[in-house]
Each structure stands twice: as C-alpha cells, then as structure tokens.
C-alpha cells in the first residue's frame, strides 16, 4: 500500500496515467514495506565487512563514505577481471526482452525496473559509462550513465528485489544469468556497508556459532530432544540420536530453520524417524549446524568462509560421507561452489547408501548427497514399510525450489518420494514447475517481515498456480524441499490461498513410515488426527 498523499479535494481528481518517461529519467522512489531494515553495526563488525555506518533507506542522505564512487567503480573493475561470466553478461545482452515477463517480481509488482533485462541495465549502464569506449564518448545515447547517489540507491533498491531464482535465465537465448549479476550488484552494495539486517545477522551468527540463529550446542541438542518427546508421544518409540560423534559413517547437515521454526520442525522430526528406522550410523553436528549460507547473499568470499565448516567438521569427525537435509540455496552452494571453494574433499568417500548399496556417483566430487535422492533410493529398493493412507487427509502438490530445480536439476526424486508416501498428488501447471518453477518470492535473505508487501507481490505467481490446483483438485498441502519455502510459503498461502498448508517431504515420509515396534498411530506429526486407516503398503511403488 502506498502512503496517503492526496488531500480530500484531490481525491476526486485521480490521474490514472502513469509517467511515461524513459527509465533513466524516472527517478527511484524507495517505498516502505518493499525493503528490509539495514544491518546492525555489530553484525558487520563481527565478520569485518567494510564501511560500517548508520543509514536508512528512506533518508535522503545515506552517509556514504567519501570515496564511495571510487569504491564502486574499482569494485566493478575488480569483478570484471575476476569473473569472465560477469564481463560477458555486461556485454552480450541484445535487449530482446525474452526475460522481461518471466520474473515473479515483475509479474507481481508491475514495476518495469523489475524486468530482469532492466534490472541488469541499471548496473550495465554504469559499466558502459566507465568501462566501454562507446559509453564514455556517447553517454546516454549508448545507454551509459554517470554513477550518482540516486543511481546507487536505485541499484540497491532493485537488487534487493531479486531473489536470484534464475527463472529469467532459462528463457534468455544467451543464457545470461541475472542471479550472477545480482550477486555482483549486492557485493558492490556490501563494499559500502549497505547490507540488510536480515542477511547480516544470520551471517554473523553463522560465523560465531555455526548457524543462522546463533543456537549454541546445548540449545540445538535440547531443541531436538523436544522433538524426540513428540515422536515418543506419537509412536511410543524413544529415539536417541548422537551429536558430534567421531567415527560415525555419515554426517548429517540441514538448515537450522528445521530446528526451531514451524513447520520446519516437522521436517526435522521426519529425518529423525527415518534415520532411526534405518538404524543409520550417522551424527548431527552442533558446529556444522547450518546448511544454509546467507554469506552467499553478501559476497563470494563470505559464502566460502561460512561454508568451510562443513568439510572441516566432516574431517574432524572422520565420517565417510555427508548427507544433507531439505534446503534450497544450501544445495546450490553445495552443488555448484563447495567443491571448488573448500575442496577437494579427498578425505571422504563417494556416498554409498549403507542400506541399499547404491553409490551416488553424481556426488563423486562433493561427497554430499541430498535426502530426497537418499530416500527415493530406499523406496526404489523396497526398504521402507509405508502406509500412504496415513496421508490421505492431504491432497498434495509439489513446489520445485528454485535452487534444487534450476540450480541442481533435481526434478524426479522428490516427486517419486511424494507419490510413494501420499495417495493424492497433483501437479501445478507445466509453466510453473520444474525448471520453470516460480520462486516463493522471499529467497536470498528477503524473508524478513518488514518487506511483507514485496514478498506477497513476488509470491503471487507461485500462489496463483497453487490456487488453481486448490480449486481444481482440492489441494491442501504444498510440499517442498526448502527451509525458506517452508517458512515463507506459509505466509504466502495464508494471504493468497487460505486452506493450503506447507510441509517438507520428510514430514510426509515420516507420517507414512511404519516403524518397527511403534504403537498404533492416531495422530500425524502435527499432532492432528490421522484419517481412517487404509491398507499398508510395503516398499511398493505408486508411480
């Protein structure tokens, strides 16, 4: 909602026409509810980020350091030399517009500067001015412009209205990856101390304590014990997982959101129940206690620093391989960056399921396997006793997280798992799933509450597709494999499609999992009554 600006007499004279000036001549208007609060100085100090200062996005004066312009220009120069992809992306766009209407933020806000092509152009115009001959000579005619404070504010505003979801890049004939341009743009703002609190806080916590919320070892342990109590109530089985155990075969790493938030905790209960049933020789770590990596939303170097704990802990504990929980950007980092940042993990073995003997060759290099791959393999080999009827109260659809789908190409495993643990599964329309999936609208550290309007706008295209299957098939559960999805889609559903819940797949697995020695289950993991029982199904496929 915009601020009230009209006086009573003016209310009757509403001009519906929007200004038709060229984008360069349309100054940025920074609006409340569209951005996250600035970071706290102590969080930036913790990790040694530069140019820490007080500022507010809506203020005229951002108290920028005196040499801010030089810092940005040099920052661009350094990154052009360092990242060939960035240099190419600055040069090759022909402005065909194929990406323009593919961005969920553009679709939801209707703001042309949220078209990926134009979002890139905000930075590209500065690149042209300072790094190309044509731009230096012809200026605006060649699409170049001076870097001014207003231009910087514009880049800041719109680069924190991009979730690096990469949907636009799927449609770009040149394969320009706007996510990488946004990453560089955000790195530049980071050089000037213009970081978001919602990102800087988790980064500092991760650096000091190992996880976003800054949970200390005893808190992590007691949080999990609390889940174990609930599991015992449900199943009559007391589970005793281990923490920081040296010599375990597998190290399990998951986003810390699964440890405290609703509905994330139900996903974590799912992991605990599955691993117990398998008798898996695994351990939790209170040090590598975060799979997520908000450093990824600040700079490449910070992401690398925060990621290093995973291999370090695997080495310290002497495990053979690493199993990872349900998370989005965590998997993009693990899949595409971890190996080159902090590898080679030659002290680990290629992941091999101790239950089925399957060797996960796809993780030969990173030595880390996704829980959905692991679970799908178990089901495929008939190793789980499942009663999908326990999920009969759920009509499920699956939201492909941007990072697991476009970032690592995982489409089938989660669907295979869902279809085996649920009897009612419905796909959303083709142009909203798999590699064309719509973002939840709150990724890359934009999942704060103060920017709720931005989140609702960005989340509308996804919600619109959910609404369709909700109306057509009565879908009431949106399954996904991402902690940020679990946290933020709940709000999005609440606003756009009331009556649709959000769940991690491991929660659905645990609902259906028939455990040895369990008492008759009357409730699901949320302590809600189970539907009337149907016949049990032993390791069978339902695909």
């Amino acid at each position: 909602m915009a601020k009230f600006t009209a006086k009573p007499a003016e209310l009757l004279k509403i001009d519906f026409k929007t200004p038709k000036t060229d984008w360069m001549d349309t100054p940025v208007e920074i609006r409340e509810h569209m951005y996250c609060h600035p970071s706290k100085a102590k969080d930036l100090e913790t990790v040694g980020f530069p140019n820490i200062h007080e500022w507010k996005p809506v203020d005229e004066n951002w108290n920028l350091p005196e040499n801010w312009k030089e810092t940005v220009i040099n920052g661009i120069k350094e990154r052009l030399q360092k990242y060939r992809s960035f240099h190419v992306f600055m040069d090759i766009c022909v402005r065909c517009g194929a990406c323009a209407d593919k961005c969920h933020f553009y679709l939801g806000t209707g703001d042309p500067k949220n078209m990926p092509v134009l979002r890139a152009e905000l930075l590209r115009s500065v690149y042209r001015k300072y790094f190309t001959t044509g731009g230096k000579i012809f200026g605006k005619t060649a699409g170049a412009r001076e870097l001014t404070e207003d231009v910087l504010k514009e880049i800041w505003y719109y680069y924190y209205q991009c979730t690096e979801c990469r949907r636009c890049s799927v449609f770009c004939p040149y394969g320009i990856d706007q996510a990488e341009i946004t990453m560089i743009g955000r790195e530049l703002t980071n050089l000037l101390g213009l970081q978001l609190g919602w990102i800087a806080g988790p980064v500092a916590n991760c650096y000091m304590k190992g996880n976003h919320l800054g949970l200390e070892p005893h808190t992590i342990k007691s949080n999990i014990e609390f889940m174990l109590d609930d599991i015992e109530t449900l199943t009559g089985i007391r589970i005793n997982p281990t923490f920081n155990r040296k010599g375990a075969e597998i190290l399990f790493v998951t986003p810390s959101g699964d440890l405290f938030g609703v509905p994330g905790v139900y996903t974590a209960m799912g992991y605990l129940m599955l691993f117990h049933e398998l008798g898996l020789d695994y351990t939790w770590s209170t040090y590598a206690s975060e799979g997520g990596n908000f450093g990824f939303f600040t700079s490449n170097e910070m992401a690398k620093r925060l990621n290093s704990k995973i291999y370090a802990e695997a080495k310290r504990l002497g495990v053979k391989w690493i199993l990872g929980g349900e998370c989005g950007h965590m998997w993009r980092v693990l899949h595409q960056y971890m190996d080159t940042w902090n590898g080679p993990a030659d002290f680990l073995e290629v992941p091999k399921s101790p239950i089925t003997g399957t060797v996960f060759d796809n993780a030969k290099s990173t030595k880390m396997t996704h829980i959905s791959e692991f679970t799908a393999d178990l089901i495929r080999h008939g190793k789980l006793k499942l009663d999908p009827g326990r999920n009969d109260h759920l009509k499920v659809t699956f939201h492909d997280s941007c990072n697991t789908s476009r970032g690592m190409g995982m489409f089938e495993e989660p669907r295979y798992v869902i279809k085996n643990v649920c009897n009612h599964f419905y796909e959303m329309p083709e142009n909203t799933i798999r590699e064309k999936t719509f973002c939840c609208g709150s990724g890359t550290g934009l999942n704060a509450s103060e920017n709720m309007e931005l989140r609702m706008r960005g989340g509308f295209p996804r919600a619109n597709a959910v609404r369709y299957v909700h109306e057509q098939h009565g879908v009431n559960m949106l399954a996904n494999i991402c902690a940020i999805d679990r946290a933020t889609l709940s709000a999005s559903m609440d606003y756009w499609v009331p009556g649709v819940g959000v769940a991690g797949i491991s929660e659905l697995v645990a609902n259906a999992l028939v455990m040895k020695g369990e008492k008759e289950r009357t409730q699901d993991l949320r302590l809600e009554p189970l539907p009337q029982k149907s016949g049990e199904k032993e390791g069978a496929e339902n695909v």
Binding site: M1, T5, F16, K20, L107, V262, V265, N464, Y495
Partner: protein, 188 residues
C-alpha cells in the same frame, strides 16, 4: 429493451473499457503486457483482474449473489491492496464502472431513457464500493497478521521448550475437570 438487456448486449465493450481503466494505473509497458498475455499463469495479475471483472459484470447484470460478488472482488482487491497504490487508487476501479456504463449510454443517446434503471444500477455499483472497503481492510489486516504470525511461528517452539507459555505449562491439566470445578465453585 431494458437497461439490463442493453448492457448485456454491450457487455464486451463495457468490460474492455472497464479493464482498460484499470490498466491505465500501471506503467505503460506493464499495461501492454497485462493486456496482451492471455495465459493465466504467465500473467497472473492481468488474468485475475480481467476474469474478476468479467465475472463481476456477469453477476451484476444477471443476479447479484453477494457471496459470489465478494469472491470476485476479493480476487482483484487482494492484488491491488499490496501493490503501489493508495487505498483510493486501489479501489477506484469500482467507481470506474459507473463512468464506463454512463459513457456507453451517452454514446447511444439513451441516458435519459434509462434514467431510473441507471440510478438503480449505480446504486448497485455503490454497494460494490462499500463491499470493497471491507475487503480492502481485510487484506491489509491480513498483512499485519502475517507479520505477527511469522514471529510467533519462529519463536513459539523455543518459548514452549523454555516452559514460558502458559498453555504448555498447564496442558496436562484436564480442561474438563477445570470447567467442572468452576461450575461447582459457582454452585451450578
């Protein structure tokens, strides 16, 4: 022919002009896109608003089921309540329907012929406007609810674990027993 029949005949023209009046509230590039792209998943805002208006018009002219009207209005207002509009801008599209219909009648030179029916139609449009206020506020209140709920969801498990929630401390007490005790105390 009465006014309703005339409007039904001109329904597509009215819908087009009414939809155009909403599109004018968006930047030009966006308005073109919202109008051009017909796929409801590739263009969720445009298609939701268009379909909502189409159904609203249908309902206004053919029946007037308040529940249905509320749903169609809700679909449109839910979007505009979180976009860059003041409340008046977000809801002005409802009033625009009166202008569009009146202009059509003036074009046909039939404004005076249907004066009474037009008044009744405009009264129905005014009712829509009032209903829209309620829906708009409901949407805005929901946004604030969401902010509060997120905070609660993030911390409730931690608070419960720390035994700081009344409900958690006393959940083992049989509620029926307590109620029964209260009744006894009151001598019921």
């Amino acid at each position: 022919m009465n006014l309703n029949e005339l409007l039904l005949k001109k329904r597509q023209t009215i819908l087009k002009k009414w939809f155009d009046s909403v599109l004018e509230t968006y930047p030009q590039d966006t308005a073109n896109f919202l109008k051009r792209q017909k796929d409801q998943f590739a263009n969720p805002v445009g298609s939701t608003i268009y379909n909502g208006m189409d159904s609203l018009l249908e309902e206004l002219l053919n029946g007037g089921d308040t529940d249905k009207i509320s749903t169609f209005l809700d679909n449109i207002i839910r979007i505009r309540a979180i976009q860059d509009f003041t409340p008046s801008q977000a809801l002005a599209f409802v009033i625009q329907l009166k202008r569009v219909v009146r202009e059509e009648l003036i074009n046909e030179n039939k404004e005076s012929q249907f004066a009474d029916e037009l008044l009744a139609f405009e009264r129905r449009a005014d009712d829509l406007m009032l209903l829209s206020f309620d829906i708009y506020m409901k949407c805005r209140e929901k946004i604030y609810d969401l902010k509060a709920n997120e905070l609660r969801n993030m911390t409730s498990k931690l608070l419960e674990r720390a035994n700081l929630i009344f409900e958690a401390q006393y959940r083992k007490i049989d509620l029926e027993e307590v109620l029964q005790g209260n009744k006894l105390e009151r001598g019921e």
